[in-house]
Structures are given as C-alpha cells and as structure tokens.
C-alpha cells in the first residue's frame, strides 16, 4: 500500500523507530528495514536513513509486495529519510 504524503508533511513526522542505514549498499538498507519491522508494533512508523539513492524506490516496491504502507521519502543533509508504516 502506498500513501504518498507531501514532503513538507513527511519532514515533520516523528517516527516511532529510526534506523540509521547510512553507508550501507544495496540491499543493506532494505534488510535493515526488514529487521526493524520485526521489532515494532503494527501501526507504528519506521524512518529509515540511507545514503543509497535507490532506497526510496526499493522500499516502496518492498512495501507494496509485503503489505506495509509506504509514505514517501525526503532528502535531508546528504541522505534520504524514508518513511514506512507497519501495516500487518
């Protein structure tokens, strides 16, 4: 499921869990997201930090496949902040 939020709204979100995967190469950030999803409750929001420019599209595809809610990503200072909500 994808519920794309405006960047201004994404930038102001406070996630329940933040995972710092900066410096990890594909598919490292995705694997970190997978691990983190197993530790948070359904409905909680995960924020994934990544310096891999493909992480946003990768996590969007992953979320659609496994059934989580992808909210989008915003560019921060040299990295991307990717937001996905655990939906199951």
């Amino acid at each position: 499921m994808t519920t794309m939020l405006p960047e201004t709204e994404l930038a102001g979100l406070t996630a329940d869990t933040v995972v710092d995967a900066r410096g990890a190469a594909c598919p490292g950030p995705l694997l970190e997201a997978k691990k983190a999803m197993g530790t948070i409750a359904v409905g909680n929001l995960l924020e994934l930090w990544s310096t891999d420019p493909q992480t946003g599209t990768d996590v969007a595809a992953w979320s659609a496949k496994v059934g989580h809610e992808f909210l989008g990503h915003v560019v921060a200072d040299g990295y991307d902040r990717v937001f996905v909500r655990r939906a199951k």
Partner: protein
C-alpha cells in the same frame, strides 16, 4: 501459483569474480526481506563462497559485503544447497559454513521445479 513464493538462485561464480559472486546474495537478501522463500544453489566455483572464511574476503564495489549478505540470508531462513561433486573435487566438504547442505543433482531439480522462479548466475 503456490501461496508461498519460492525463488531458487543458482550461483556458479566464485571469489575470483566478486560482482557476480555478490549479486546473487543481494537478490537473495531482497527476496528473504520480501517474505519469499529462498534456496541458493552453489555449483562449480560458486561453492567456494560457502567455504568457511571465504565470504569475508569478497567485496564488490558499491555492493554490500558478501559476508553480511550471507548472514542475512541465513537469518531470514534462506537455504544453502551445495553441489556434492563440486565440493569433493575442491576438497572442501568439511569446510562449509554453518547451514550449508551438500546435495546431488536430483535435489536441485526438485527445488527448481517446485519454485516460482529460478535465477542463474
């Protein structure tokens, strides 16, 4: 299509080709993260990648280190099947990483014919 998807990934390149050795592990990592059952099959020089201590020596530019990917694949339930004559000819039967299972051709055939898709590297 079966309810549970299964991907078989055949690996034939060893540490001498870090990129083609690493790509199948990257695909396997993405697959297990996506709740797809994964079976990795190692044949030819690909067997060297599941010899103890070898994965730690393989890093392809701009890819995650192979050893970490191997750990993730195992952590999320991926299976590692290794060609029996391939490990015998290399003398590494007793040197395989934890979780690696030596098998013969019929097992590979059974895994492939029951899979949703098969990738060959």
């Amino acid at each position: 299509m079966p309810d549970q998807e299964k991907l078989v990934i055949m690996v034939t390149h060893g540490p001498d080709d870090p990129e083609l050795a690493t790509i199948p592990f990257a695909m396997a990592g993405a697959a297990v993260a996506s709740d797809v059952d994964v079976v990795m099959g190692f044949q030819g020089d690909g067997c060297r990648l599941v010899q103890k201590g070898v994965a730690e020596t393989v890093t392809a530019p701009d890819f995650a280190p192979l050893a970490g990917l191997l750990d993730s694949v195992r952590e999320f339930g991926g299976k590692l099947l290794v060609c029996a004559p391939c490990v015998k000819s290399r003398g590494i039967e007793e040197e395989l990483v934890e979780g690696a299972e030596v098998c013969a051709a019929a097992r590979f055939v059974a895994e492939i014919t029951s899979a949703t898709s098969t990738l060959v590297y």
